[in-house]
Amino acid sequence: MRPVPDRDSAAWWEAVRRHELTVQVCDDCGTPRFPARAVCHRCRSFAWSWRPAAGTGRVVSWVVTHQVFAPAFAGAVPYTVVLVRLDDAEDCLMHGGFTGTPSADLPVRARFDDVGDDLTLVNWVPA
């Protein structure tokens, strides 16, 4: 199932395509945010920069999906999706695929998987 980037997130997906994990950071107060959007929820500034993220984090939770919720994933079940809290942007959580069985607070790092000619996804592996 392809992501549908919007005008706020297109640059984030382009960075992922280059195998770079970025986080949007407010130019005025430094607060990181994710998902991408044009305004800072803390100081309401519209000035921001894309900051390279370390690409490491900790597992907050995970789900093992057994039910086929869409035909595209019929051959994939059971599969695991983790929720990761980034080490260098504590308030930012990201989803991604994971192979094997995670555990609470497991240190992980981002892995960039090219899944097609024009699409890269961020998955997570033990750090």
Binding site: P35, P78, L93
Partner: protein, 388 residues
């Protein structure tokens, strides 16, 4: 915070249902029309008395102006076509109450009509993935269905507080026992904890019996002034408080503790508006799209300490004979899932003393709650009171 100008000025004067099923065989417009007429009949009113209609939907149901034209309601002076799912289910009634309290409308019918099993499944397959900016970061991983999203937060709660699968199971078993006493419920065979533990995985840690029943059906409520409701056919049930709020993302924005919901912020406002405390609540209908949803809300609405929701349920507090009977109709897990409104309808039945074998004796104050803010990051809730 408090709203003495709002408290108990409006009332729910009528309740109507269609049957619940896996395949209604009719359009959502037909379901809506039948439920609206049933609610009016219950109140002792008719379509000519209606000057407002309110609903919520996610592109899956009949708009108020369609229902108005279908029923020959010629000039609604107020209507609400709220975008949203379970999170806004209770705000629809709250906004109808505001319209009535302000005098803009006199008789508003709130309804929700869905063919959530036969036409438009919340759990995917046959419907487009919902449009939300956050979906793009999850759907590519096969992660977009409500049971997956809730399961992620349920496991986080298990990891942080030691909540156990048996706690989820006790909740499912307790609610099924209530449904056995509810002729309207879709699932009326009792279940055991073993039945729960042997039901198949859907999205671990959720099993089949953690999930609500995708249902075809409709339910409607008549909202009018408390004064007028006292002169109508049924015992009046007043709206003591209506609150809605939230809006932050769980993925960032200062709300990144995924074990606390928007209900924790809304609850103090709601209780203050009604002038009650959690211990004053006699019966609670708590949004149960999944078992975990009830456990986290028991905490966030202040019925037990943070992290204690699982043991609270397992100890029997939420049973029909417990000190806080919860989801007395069986809830969405066992009665059926009309996206929130059937919780309000059950609260009204309890406060009227019309809940039959599942009646909570002497119930005077009821809480009814919406999806607590995990999927659409907002929630809503009502406190209702028996007018006697």
């Amino acid at each position: 915070m408090s709203a003495p100008g709002f408290r108990d000025r409006t009332a729910v004067a009528g309740v109507g249902y269609t049957p619940f099923s896996k395949n209604s065989g009719v359009s959502t417009l037909t379901l809506a029309a039948r439920a609206v007429l049933a609610a009016l009949e219950d109140a002792g009113l008719g379509p000519d008395d209606v000057d407002g209609l309110a609903t919520h939907r996610v592109g899956d149901s009949a708009a108020p102006w369609l229902v108005a034209s279908a029923l020959g309601i010629r000039e609604p002076s107020w209507y609400l076509d709220q975008f949203g799912g379970g999170s806004v289910s209770h705000s629809v009634v709250g906004q109808a109450a505001l319209a009535v309290a302000s005098g803009i409308a006199r008789t508003v019918v709130c309804y929700r009509a869905i063919n959530a099993r036969s036409e438009f499944r919340m759990g995917g397959t046959g419907r487009a993935v919902p449009v939300s900016p956050e979906v793009q970061y999850q759907a590519p991983y096969g992660f977009f269905a409500p049971p997956q999203q809730y399961a992620m937060y349920a496991r986080a709660h298990m990891l942080k507080y030691g909540t156990k699968e048996e706690h989820f199971g006790r909740l499912a078993v307790t609610q099924r026992a209530n449904a056995v006493k509810n002729p309207r419920a879709l699932m009326r065979d009792p279940i055991t904890l073993d039945d729960y533990l042997s039901s198949r995985w859907i999205a671990e840690p959720f099993r089949l019996l953690d999930c609500c029943l995708e249902t075809d059906g409709a339910c409607a409520l008549v909202v009018t002034t408390a004064e007028r409701a006292r002169d109508l056919r049924q015992p009046a049930v007043t709206i003591s408080a209506a609150a809605w709020g939230g809006g932050d993302s769980f993925l960032s924005g200062g709300r990144a503790d995924v074990t606390v919901t928007a209900a924790a912020e809304l609850a103090p406002r709601l209780y203050a508006m009604a002038g009650v405390r959690p211990r004053d609540i006699d019966v609670a209908q708590i949004y149960d799209c999944f078992t975990y949803s009830v456990i986290v809300q028991l905490e966030d609405y202040g019925f037990c300490g943070k992290g204690e929701g699982g043991p609270f349920v397992a100890d029997g507090h939420t049973s029909l004979d417990g000190d806080l009977p919860v989801n007395t109709h069986g809830g969405f897990l066992s009665e059926g899932y009309v996206h929130g409104i059937n919780h309000i309808a059950e609260a009204v039945s309890q406060l009227r003393g019309q809940a039959g074998d599942r009646q909570v004796p002497g119930a005077e104050v009821a809480l009814s709650t919406a999806q607590p803010g995990y999927i659409l990051p907002a929630t809503s809730a009502l406190i209702l009171r028996a007018d006697r």
